[in-house]
C-alpha cells in the first residue's frame, strides 16, 4: 500500500476517533455511550493495524488484536452486563450542560493542536499529524470524567483516556514495546474487574452509583 494513502486513511481514522470522543461527550444514554466507546476501540484497532503494516512493525498486529478483543468486545460486554444487572437505564447526568462541555472540548482540541505544532515540524513519521488528536482524546476523556456524575461514565471516560494514550503511542513512535503494551492491556482488564466489583459495593452501600454520594465519606471538620 502506498504510504501516502495509508497516512490519509490514518488521518481519517484519527478524525473518527476524535468524533467518537465528542460523541461520548454529548451522548446522554448509557447504552449509546458504550456503543460509542466500542466504535472508538474499533477505529483505534484498525489504525494500529495500518500503522503496523506500513511501518513494518509486526508486533503492532498483536496490539491491534488485543485492542479489538479487549476494548471492542470484552469491556463493552462487561459494562453492558453491569448496567443490566444494576438496572441503570437512566440518562447520563451531567454537571456542566452539554453545549458548554462541547465548547470546552473544542477549546481543548485547539489547545492540543497548538501544543503539538512544534512536534509536527520535527517529526518525519507518517502518523505525526495524528498526535494532536491523540492528545485531544486524552484531554476529552479527562473532561468527561470531570463533568459526569455517574460512576459508570467515569469508567468510560477513564477507558477513553487510555485509548487516547494508546493512540498517542502509536502515532508518535509507532507504538510502545510489546511488553509494555501487554502490561497495559492486562492492567486495563484488571482495572475493569476491580471497577466492576467496586460498582457492586458502592451500589449496595449507597443504593446508587451517583458519586456525589461519596462526598459523605469526607472527614467532618
Amino acid at each position: 500500500m502506498h504510504t501516502n494513502l495509508a497516512a490519509q486513511i490514518n488521518s481519517f481514522l484519527a478524525a473518527m476517533i476524535l468524533l467518537t470522543a465528542f460523541g461520548m461527550l454529548v451522548q446522554r444514554r448509557m447504552y449509546g455511550l458504550i456503543h460509542l466507546f466500542a466504535w472508538q476501540g474499533l477505529f483505534l484497532s484498525i489504525s494500529t493495524a495500518i500503522v503496523g503494516f506500513v511501518a513494518g512493525a509486526h508486533h503492532l498486529y498483536i496490539s491491534s488484536i488485543l485492542t479489538l478483543s479487549l476494548k471492542v468486545i470484552l469491556l463493552p460486554y462487561i459494562l453492558h452486563v453491569l448496567i443490566q444487572r444494576l438496572k441503570i437505564h437512566k440518562e447520563v447526568e451531567t454537571i456542566v450542560n452539554v453545549p458548554m462541555t462541547m465548547l470546552i472540548g473544542i477549546a481543548l482540541v485547539i489547545f492540543s493542536y497548538h501544543l503539538t505544532a512544534p512536534v509536527r515540524e520535527l517529526s518525519t513519521l507518517m502518523t505525526r499529524s495524528t498526535l494532536a488528536v491523540a492528545l485531544a482524546t486524552v484531554l476529552l476523556g479527562l473532561l468527561m470524567m470531570i463533568t459526569r456524575k455517574h460512576a459508570v461514565t467515569q469508567i468510560i471516560g477513564f477507558l477513553a483516556m487510555e485509548n487516547g494514550l494508546f493512540f498517542a503511542a502509536t502515532s508518535a513512535t509507532y507504538g510502545m514495546p510489546l511488553v509494555v503494551e501487554l502490561g497495559v492491556a492486562l492492567d486495563i482488564l484488571i482495572a475493569a474487574f476491580i471497577f466492576g466489583i467496586f460498582f457492586f459495593q458502592i451500589h449496595t452501600t449507597f443504593d446508587s452509583l451517583d458519586i456525589e454520594q461519596m462526598a459523605r465519606l469526607k472527614e467532618e471538620d
Binding site: 454537571i95 489547545f111 501544543l115 512544534p118 484531554l139 479527562l142 473532561l143 470524567m145 470531570i146 463533568t147 456524575k149 467515569q154 458519586i211 456525589e212 461519596m214 462526598a215 459523605r216 465519606l217 469526607k218 472527614e219 471538620d221
Partner: protein, 642 residues
C-alpha cells in the same frame, strides 16, 4: 552484654585518642554507589569513650533498675531499643559520610523516641514523646539540608560523590554558602542538644523516660549534637568568620543562665536535672564558641584551651549528669515519687544513694575537688585571657559572658543545695510514710563507678588533658599539654604558671584533711550526740509539712528573676465565722511556666493548625473536584512545557 560492648568501645576510643590515630573503613553496604564510610579519629574516639564509659555504667545500673518494671510490664522493648539507642550513638560518632551519619542519627532518634514512650499508658508520656519526635525531626531536616549544601558545593552541584566527609574536608567553601550550612546545622544540632529556645522537648521527655534512659539521653545523646557542631565547624568547614563563634557563644550563655534559672523553679527531680542539661550544654557551647572566636583570630593556643574546656566539660557532664539521673532513678525506684515536695530525710534510708547523689551535686555545682570545677575553671581561664582579642565588640561582650557564667555557677550551686537538701535531708514531707529501702547492688555499683570517675577526673585532670590533647592539636593546631603540665602532673597551668594554676591532688588532700579534722572534732568527745525534738518556736503541734521546702527555697530567686518566667500565683482563703480574721484554710497555688512556650511555640503551633485547616478545604470529598485538580495541573504543565 551492652556493658561489655560499651567497654570495648571505651577501649577502642581511648586507644585511638591516646595514639592520635585515624582509621578509615569503607563498608561495602548501603545504597548503590553510596557506600557507608566509617572513620575513627581522635575526635570521634573521644566521644566514643564518653558514650562508652557512661553506657557501661548505666548498663550495670540498668540490671537493677529494670527489675522495678518486672511483673507489671514487658521489658523486651526497653532492652531492644536501649541497645539500638546505644548502637545508634556509636554509629553517629563513627560515621564518615553524610548519609551514614543521618541514618545513624535517625536510628538514635527513633530508638530514643520508643524509650521515652516506654510507659505509654500515661498521656503525658505520649505527649512528651510526640513533642520530642517533632523537634528531633525538624532538627534532622536542618542537618540534612546543611549536609546537602556542603555535599553540593563539594562537587559543584554536579554529582553525589561529595557526600563523604573526606570530600568536604578537601573543599574550601565560599563564605555565603558555608554560613548557610553552618546556620542550618547549628539549628539542627541545637534542637537536639536542647539549646534555648529549642529546649522545650527536653524537660518533657527526660522526666518520663525510664531513669537509665534519661541518664543516657541527657548524659551522652545531647553530646552527639556537640560532636556534630565540632565536626562540622572545625573539621569540615575549617575556615570561618568570628561572628559564628559569637553566635555559638551567645546561645551558650543564654542557655546556661536561663537553663539554671528554670531548673531552680522545678520541683520534679528529673525535670530539674533536665533543665540542668540545658545549662550544661550552654557551658559546653561557651567553650566551643570561644574556641571558634580564637581560631578565627589565629590564636591557636587559646583556641585549644577553650576547646579542651568545652570537651572536658562534655566528658564531665556525661559523668555527673549520668550519675545524678541514676541517683534520681534510684530515688524514684525506691519511693515511686518524682516530686521533691513529697520527699525528705532519705539520707537515713538510702545512705549510699545519698552519698553518690551528693558527689554528683558537688561536681555539677563546679566545686573542687570534683571534675565540674576543672572544666568550668578552664572555661573561665579562656574568658579571662580573651582581652587580647583585636575586636572591640567582642572585648565588650566577653567580660559580660564571664560574669554570666559566674552567675550560672552560683545559681547551679543554689539549685543543687535545694535538690539535695529537700530530697535527702530533713524529714519525710509526703502524706503517707512509705516503706523505702536502699536500692540493690547493681544500681549502687553503677553509681559508684560514675562517682569515682567524677572524683578521678577532678583530682587528676592533667592526665586526662594530656590524653585528649591530640584532638585540639588536630582541629585547631595547638596543644595545651606542654603548658598545662609545665610544672609536672600535679599542677594544671593552662597558659603560664604565673597567671593561674591549680593542683587537683593538693586541693583534694587538703579537703580530706579538713573533713577528717571536722569529723574528729565532732565525734571524738566524751558525751555522745543526742537527738532531741525540734524546737517549735513556741507554736504547738509542729508537723512535717511545716518544713522548709523546695518552693520556699527558690522563692527569693523567683522574686528577683520573675520576669524570665510566666508565673501564676494564687492565694485563696477559706474563712471561718464569715470574717477574714479567722482563717480556716489557706490554698496556695503556684504555676510557673517556660516563657518560650507562649512566645515562640504557641504562634508556630497556631499558624500550622490554621494552614492545615485551609489545606483541608482542598479535600472536598468529590471525585470531580480531584479530577479538576489533576486536569488543571496537566493543562498548566502543558502550557509551560516549552
Amino acid at each position: 552484654m551492652t556493658a561489655i560492648a560499651s567497654l570495648l568501645m571505651v577501649a577502642a576510643g581511648g586507644w585511638t585518642v591516646g595514639k592520635g590515630l585515624t582509621n578509615q573503613i569503607i563498608l561495602p553496604i548501603g545504597l548503590p554507589d553510596l557506600l557507608f564510610h566509617l572513620r575513627l579519629d581522635p575526635l570521634s574516639g573521644f566521644f566514643l569513650t564518653v558514650i562508652g564509659l557512661l553506657s557501661f555504667f548505666v548498663s550495670i545500673y540498668s540490671l537493677g533498675y529494670v527489675k522495678g518494671f518486672l511483673g507489671h510490664r514487658s521489658i523486651t522493648t526497653l532492652v531492644i531499643f536501649y541497645c539500638l539507642f546505644i548502637a545508634g550513638m556509636f554509629m553517629v560518632v563513627l560515621a564518615d559520610d553524610a548519609l551514614f551519619f543521618l541514618i545513624s542519627w535517625e536510628v538514635m532518634a527513633a530508638a530514643s523516641y520508643f524509650l521515652v514512650m516506654f510507659e505509654d499508658e500515661k498521656i503525658e508520656n505520649r505527649r512528651a514523646a510526640f513533642l520530642y519526635m517533632i523537634v528531633a525531626h525538624v532538627g534532622a531536616i536542618a542537618i540534612l539540608l546543611s549536609f546537602g549544601v556542603l555535599a553540593g558545593l563539594t562537587t559543584g552541584f554536579q554529582g553525589f560523590s561529595g557526600y563523604t566527609f573526606d570530600a568536604m574536608r578537601a573543599t574550601r567553601f565560599p563564605l555565603g554558602w558555608a554560613t548557610a550550612a553552618f546556620l542550618l546545622s547549628f539549628f539542627g544540632f541545637a534542637a537536639k542538644a536542647g539549646v534555648i529556645p529549642l529546649h522545650v522537648w527536653l524537660p518533657e521527655a527526660h522526666p518520663v523516660a525510664p531513669s537509665n534512659v534519661s541518664a543516657l539521653m541527657s548524659g551522652v545523646m545531647l553530646k552527639t549534637a556537640i560532636y556534630g557542631i565540632v565536626r562540622i565547624t572545625f573539621d569540615l568547614i575549617k575556615v570561618f568568620p568570628w561572628w559564628w563563634g559569637a553566635i555559638v557563644l551567645v546561645f551558650g550563655l543564654v542557655s546556661a543562665v536561663l537553663g539554671v534559672l528554670y531548673a531552680l523553679m522545678q520541683h520534679d527531680l528529673k525535670r530539674l536535672l533536665a533543665y540542668h542539661s540545658v545549662e550544661n550544654i550552654g557551658i559546653i557551647l561557651i567553650g566551643i564558641g570561644l574556641s571558634m572566636i580564637f581560631t578565627s583570630f589565629q590564636m591557636p593556643l587559646l583556641a585549644a584551651l577553650a576547646l579542651t574546656a568545652g570537651l572536658f566539660h562534655t566528658m564531665n557532664h556525661a559523668m555527673f549528669k549520668g550519675l545524678l539521673f541514676m541517683g534520681a532513678g534510684a530515688v524514684l525506684h525506691a519511693t515511686h515519687e518524682r516530686n521533691m515536695e513529697e520527699m525528705g530525710g532519705l539520707i537515713h534510708k538510702m545512705p549510699w544513694t545519698a552519698a553518690f547523689f551528693l558527689v554528683g551535686c558537688i561536681s555539677i555545682s563546679a566545686l573542687p575537688p570534683f571534675n565540674g570545677f576543672i572544666s568550668e575553671w578552664l572555661t573561665f581561664q579562656a574568658f579571662l585571657l580573651s582581652p587580647s582579642l583585636p575586636n572591640p565588640l567582642l572585648n565588650l561582650l566577653i567580660p559580660m559572658g564571664a560574669a554570666l557564667l559566674a552567675l550560672t555557677g552560683a545559681l547551679a550551686a543554689a539549685c543543687f543545695v535545694k535538690a539535695f537538701g529537700v530530697t535527702f535531708l530533713g524529714h519525710w514531707r509526703g502524706h503517707h510514710n512509705p516503706n523505702v529501702h536502699e536500692v540493690g547492688w547493681p544500681m549502687r555499683i553503677g553509681m559508684m563507678l560514675a562517682a569515682l570517675t567524677c572524683l578521678g577526673l577532678g583530682v587528676l585532670p592533667t592526665l586526662f588533658i594530656e590524653w585528649m590533647d591530640v584532638i585540639s592539636e588536630q582541629l585547631v593546631g595547638a596543644k595545651i599539654a606542654t603548658s598545662a603540665t609545665g610544672l609536672g602532673w600535679m599542677w594544671l597551668t593552662p597558659i603560664a604558671h604565673e597567671r593561674a594554676s591549680y593542683s587537683g591532688p593538693i586541693v583534694f588532700l587538703f579537703i580530706m584533711a579538713v573533713v577528717v579534722l571536722a569529723y574528729i572534732f565532732l565525734h571524738v568527745r566524751p558525751a555522745a550526740i543526742q537527738r532531741v525534738p525540734i524546737w517549735d518556736c513556741g507554736f504547738e503541734k509542729i508537723n512535717q509539712r511545716m518544713q522548709y521546702n523546695a518552693t520556699s527555697f527558690s522563692m527569693p530567686i523567683r522574686r528577683i528573676f520573675g520576669f524570665f518566667f510566666s508565673i501564676k500565683e494564687q492565694v485563696r482563703m477559706v474563712s471561718q465565722y464569715g470574717h477574714k480574721a479567722f482563717p480556716k484554710k489557706l490554698h496556695y497555688h503556684l504555676r510557673i511556666r517556660d516563657l518560650f512556650w507562649g512566645w515562640l511555640y504557641k504562634p508556630v503551633i497556631e499558624v500550622s493548625f490554621w494552614v492545615s485547616r485551609k489545606v483541608g478545604k482542598l479535600q472536598q470529598g468529590r471525585i470531580q473536584v480531584y479530577l479538576i485538580y489533576s486536569f488543571v495541573t496537566i493543562i498548566i504543565l502543558l502550557v509551560f512545557q516549552g
